[in-house]
Assembly symmetry: C2
Amino acid sequence: MLTLYHYWSSVCSQKVRFCLSEKGLDWNSRHIDLFGFEHWKPEYLKLNRMAVVPTLEHDGRIVTESNVIIEYLEDAFPGPSLRPGDAFLRARMRHWINLSEAEAHHNVNTCSYNLRHRPRLMQKYSIEEIRGLAHGHPNSDLRARMVQRAERGVGEEEEAAAYRALAALVDWMEESLSEGTWLAGDVFSLADVAMGPYVNRIEVLAHPEILAADAHPRVADWWARIRARPGFQQAFSFANPDASDPVKR
Amino acid sequence: MLTLYHYWSSVCSQKVRFCLSEKGLDWNSRHIDLFGFEHWKPEYLKLNRMAVVPTLEHDGRIVTESNVIIEYLEDAFPGPSLRPGDAFLRARMRHWINLSEAEAHHNVNTCSYNLRHRPRLMQKYSIEEIRGLAHGHPNSDLRARMVQRAERGVGEEEEAAAYRALAALVDWMEESLSEGTWLAGDVFSLADVAMGPYVNRIEVLAHPEILAADAHPRVADWWARIRARPGFQQAFSFANPDASDPVKR
């Protein structure tokens, strides 16, 4: 029995849902309302000490961190193999899994804040309420950062640097795709599972031209092939279960 | 043929040397003088786009990022297995490999700067020279950060937050070690390889009490067992090849 604690539009949640679909695995959904700060509640912190989504529960055992979860699904279940057999291609795969966290996640998060996260937060709460809610988080430094971001937004310089980093990452993908049709060679792998949801998000941020097909024809072709996969479509069809709730949506 | 591009006291380099020793693998050393900015030179950037050490070359093929390298060594070579067979324990192993980068590395680096890195930098260069050297780095944002850190050092608040994060990580290790003698269960694994060098560094930073044995008896015992391993001793016996050179040391 697999249960995924996740949020519909969280990129790391999308990554794990994409992996689950590609592996052909059934799972139960436990939607965690991030804008209701459900991930900061004691019950959730018992499962996920870092207070982030997603969390996977498999027969009562807990696995956290999206990159750890996707390798776990590959280790624990048969079905389509999403890891190349060759050691060197496997290293290339892990290189991209790693970049999806170290480069893509951090910078996509920074670029998403003013455009997407802050308006949703501000629609629901006053700054005073956010300060109050922040007390729920166990980590005082993350708490302070969260309040500061809500108060001031992400600074122009920080945001510009994050967009530059994303553009450099897409350049790198373009180069990498000259060596194979997928990111870790000629076979679709966890590298593509890890990067797909970030490219999906970059497309809706303030600088979609980062993905311009004339400058990055191989990335454009890869991205079209990712979007065409039934596994991707299934993972991204998960809609906000609170969309009709005027408070929670 | 294995060649490691590394720096004697870089924690990520120590991690890979520790892994190579535990696997019983021979390798050639190519020492990269970080304080001579050799890692920013075009020849090195061709191998390692992020301008960091270490880089592994195996029969002419390049693998970068210490966490990717240690899994590669496990995939590519026989010898003592450093990954548990069980999928769930393997996820625990990757969880700690991941934390060694996401939590330990970042914060150890912040805490090492004022205490260790900046004095060595300032002994060799004026701020003007550092500004000049910075032009060699391909990433303008990392370049700006490097110059800013050299000018001002790491701020008190940033440093204090990093020490708090390291203390929380050691608390977490203590909890994790209640479930097995090693970080991923009862078998020594890449999790221990990844965390050992960071605990070694924490011990020589400004707050070694983070490791106090009375508060963390299991971590103290684990750390004594790590230090006693011939593989660890061999990896850490690699001395600065420029120690006798008054300019490079």
